[in-house]
Symmetry: C2
Subunit: 136 residues, 2 copies
């Protein structure tokens, strides 16, 4: 089955790898440690559009992504969100929040322009995420 990542998601993120169901992306915004899971199912817009087996896989991929984000320094809380008001392709945000971060205690979505990672910092994070999620 072909899968094409939404161009806006592609522009805002860096690829980490593929899990059983989802492509895992790193949001290219160093304000927050932030993964995005995109189930490789072109026709899905809502979680409820997945079948029950896919949903069971998705929530385990959310859990694994949460554990990885929790392992990063300074993370006090995880925010999980599937909104899709701007990008129709189903995607789930797993965001590490710190008390006092730029959006705290509000949500991160729609809070101004992303601050891009330096390439070497992004490479380190991507390697850590791959080791934790993609190749365990």
């Amino acid at each position: 089955m072909t899968f094409a990542l939404d161009p806006r998601l592609a522009a805002d993120t860096l690829a980490i790898g593929d899990l059983a169901l989802s492509r895992v992306l790193l949001m290219n915004d160093r304000r927050y440690p932030w993964l995005v899971l995109v189930p490789r199912r072109e026709a899905s817009r809502e979680i409820v559009d997945l079948d029950a087996q896919e949903r069971a896989t998705l929530i385990e991929e959310i859990a694994a992504s949460s554990r990885f984000v929790q392992s990063l320094p300074g993370v006090d809380k995880i925010n999980v969100g599937a909104l899709g008001n701007l990008v129709a392709q189903l995607h789930v945000h797993v965001v590490g929040r710190a008390v006092g971060d730029p959006a705290w205690p509000g949500p991160v979505w729609g809070r101004g322009a992303a601050r891009r990672y330096a390439p070497e910092r992004a490479a380190v994070l991507i390697a850590q995420a791959r080791a934790a999620l993609v190749t365990p």
Copy 2:
């Protein structure tokens, strides 16, 4: 096992009933058709704090809640979110969004004071939600 709903969640919502894992609440804000699922597990703050079986149940309760919200008039999109930056007790929002609603296309959280339902309108919605979710 005892379960006590967080007082802030209790103040902002109206009770619908208990599913296998979660208490289902109606957010008392008529700007958006909005359910809240609260797993009856006192110690859980994050989705990843649930065990795998509970997570599998939770995502099916999210799916069922999504279907109910989708059945309401004027709902164009579902937003699912587990944030918990203000209320530590694990809870999952399932929100019906309409293109052009007061927060569109941004998230609903932190967008001003709720507009309470008239009691008779809340009673109708609660009865519909109970019929769809709690007693099928």
